[in-house]
């Protein structure tokens, strides 16, 4: 009798605005804003960049930032700001496809593993855990060794490496949904597993998928940057933040800003997606929120 009492006491003891109704947290706001800016940059790059980001012009090599070249130019005389704008496109594209691959495979896998008989679900998860032994970068390097480096290979490798995270999370959510009374009722009413998966499980795990997608996006951005840095990502001349960093390394003593701009771009984008993920998690499930 009194277990609910303590909960009720403490829950209602905390001012309502702080615990219960928290539709928009700081994380959600900042994360959403940053992500919107990155998307805005990518869209803008389709219609306008100050200069052609791929235009090599030795006469303006290594210019300091100026009204004409906001972030300066690199060793080939390319405009850094234009490259950053275009690079956001690469980043978003890779993230989008990688998360898409991971969700399209991982979500059904998680649902099946959650609805299947226990032993089969466990077996699927064991196989799933095995994939964790091959982190995104390792998988991408393997893929690159076999199929050659490229954006597509990188995206798919990052996507495959992200499957286990989706599958594990969704299985957990599915197991919870399967224990609810409405699922029991649906089963008693003779609904087949497919109907239950589509009507009951999927809608209830959607919020988990969205949260994981945001966090997965951040992981994909990091992995793409690392791959491009190693030369296994997007091939030149398409601008990419990771490759800009790699090209900057030999010039650290002359022009450290060449590392700073893409570095900040990567960090801010990752921070944005991580914050967005945290904020969405708070919003969808107050119980999982970051402890008041």
């Amino acid at each position: 009798m009194s277990a609910p009492e303590r909960e009720a006491t403490v829950a209602s003891a905390v001012p309502a605005g702080r615990r219960r109704r928290r539709p928009v947290t700081g994380s959600l706001l900042v994360g959403g804003l940053v992500v919107a800016i990155v998307i805005g940059m990518a869209l803008l790059s389709f219609v306008w960049t100050p200069h052609d980001p791929t235009l090599v012009d030795p006469s303006v090599r290594l210019r300091e930032p100026s009204p004409d070249y906001w972030f300066g130019t690199d060793k080939f005389g390319r405009d850094v700001f234009s490259q950053i704008l275009m690079g956001s496109r690469t980043t978003l594209f890779v993230g989008f496809v990688a998360v898409g691959v991971a969700a399209v495979v991982g979500v059904p896998l998680g649902i099946v593993a959650g609805m299947a008989p226990r032993w089969f679900g466990e077996l699927l998860m064991r196989g799933n855990d095995l994939l964790l032994a091959f982190p995104a970068l390792l998988l991408a390097i393997m893929f690159a060794a076999v199929y050659g480096a490229g954006t597509l290979v990188a995206m798919i490798a990052i996507g495959i490496a992200s499957i286990p995270h989706f599958a594990r999370l969704i299985r957990g959510g599915t197991l919870q949904v399967m224990e609810t009374e409405y699922v029991t009722a649906a089963r008693a009413a003779g609904r087949g597993p497919f109907a239950i998966a589509v009507r009951h499980v999927l809608p209830n795990v959607t919020s988990l998928v969205i949260v994981q997608a945001s966090v997965g996006f951040a992981i994909a951005v990091l992995a793409e940057a690392a791959l491009s840095f190693l030369g296994f990502g997007t091939p030149p001349p398409t601008p990419s933040w990771g490759r800009m960093l790699q090209e900057s390394q030999e010039l650290l003593s002359i022009a450290p800003r060449l590392a700073v701009f893409p570095g900040v771009a990567i960090a801010v984008a990752v921070l944005g997606f991580n914050l967005l993920g945290d904020g969405l998690r708070d919003r969808f499930d107050p119980k999982l929120e970051d402890r008041r």
């Binding site: 982190p135 995104a136 690392a226």
Partner: protein, 316 residues
């Protein structure tokens, strides 16, 4: 206890077997013939055939697989397709370098993250806790290689305190070894610390709300001592899990860090082998990394059994 141990060993062996088959199969189905790839398109058919025979590539896949595994298990993985040099000693050397990096990085991560995460949990309502929390969020967003580049910019290029890159074995020059180890290990460690801090924080927060912590305080322990004596061991279980996952991240992170700091570790070997199309070496390195991750997962399972008596099963 024994049953659990046997069970865990079984899972480890099965995982190792399955992942080795996966790696092998993946490399075996690749388009084109490794011998042809190794020798280049201009090589004569007879030279290719000779190489195929030399490396047993003309044998059935199962035999090739068994040969490969046998080589790995006996620490004699054969010779490179490209350089014809024995791979074994090379792997051992490189692995040692990478273990120094990853080990030091892990120690740095733990030394920073365990106290900071605990502090953040204890002060989660105070400004200092929130500032630390925000800092860790920023740290998570910085890739290790970016941290490396920034460290080089500041401490090597700017201040000139540390060498920008390079590697010296510890037996050769311990001081230079430490100087050269510091920045790469820090790059790996700081970023991992940021991730780990967040997990430590949430694990400690969970424990702080446990009834047994209130019992400990009701006994007359002050909050800090109650947390240290009763909380940390219980908070360790989720933290150890994350540590294991982080080892995989660190191993892969060292691939990039070795490139940034020009360090001859396993990662450099992997990248060079990919560049040289030396596929057998790629296969070996990938398998070693996967093995290391699986082995650590196994060790983590054992640590659980030590930490949490509930998992041991059976009555005493």
């Amino acid at each position: 206890m024994i049953v659990r141990l046997v069970q865990r060993i079984g899972i480890l062996l099965a995982s190792l077997a399955v992942s080795s088959v996966l790696v092998f199969a993946f490399m075996a189905v690749l388009p084109g013939d490794p011998a042809r790839v190794a020798l280049g398109t201009s090589a004569s058919d007879s030279a290719v055939a000779q190489l195929r025979e030399q490396f047993g590539l003309d044998r059935p896949l199962v035999a090739q697989y068994l040969h490969w595994i046998h080589g790995l298990l006996t620490f004699d993985p054969g010779n490179s397709y490209i350089s014809q040099a024995p791979i074994g000693p090379q792997l051992a050397d490189r692995l040692q370098v990478t273990l120094w990096l990853v080990g030091t990085g892990m120690v740095i991560a733990c030394v920073l993250a365990l106290p900071m995460g605990t502090l953040m949990a204890v002060r989660h309502r105070k400004p200092s806790g929130l500032v630390l929390s925000a800092l860790s969020q920023v740290g998570v967003a910085i890739p290790a290689f970016l941290a490396g580049i920034l460290l080089i910019t500041v401490f090597a290029v700017g201040l000139g305190w540390l060498p920008a890159n390079g590697w010296t074995p510890p037996v050769q020059d311990p001081v230079l070894f430490l100087k050269q180890l510091l920045m790469p290990a820090l790059s790996l460690g700081i970023v991992q610390a940021a991730v780990l801090t967040r997990y430590v924080r949430s694990a400690v927060l969970d424990v702080l709300r446990e009834d047994y912590l209130r019992t400990a305080r009701a006994k007359g322990l002050r909050p800090t001592r109650a947390l240290l004596r009763h909380g940390l061991r219980n908070a360790a279980v989720p933290v150890v899990t994350v540590l294991a996952l982080q080892l995989a991240t660190l191993l892969v992170g060292s691939v990039v860090i070795e490139r940034v700091f020009v360090i001859p570790g396993l990662g450099s070997l992997l990248l060079d082998s990919v560049a040289n199309r030396d596929l057998i070496v790629v296969q070996d390195v990938v398998m070693i990394i996967a093995m290391a991750v699986l082995l650590v997962n196994f060790l983590v399972d054992l640590v659980y059994l030590l930490i949490d008596p509930r998992l041991r099963g059976g009555a005493s």
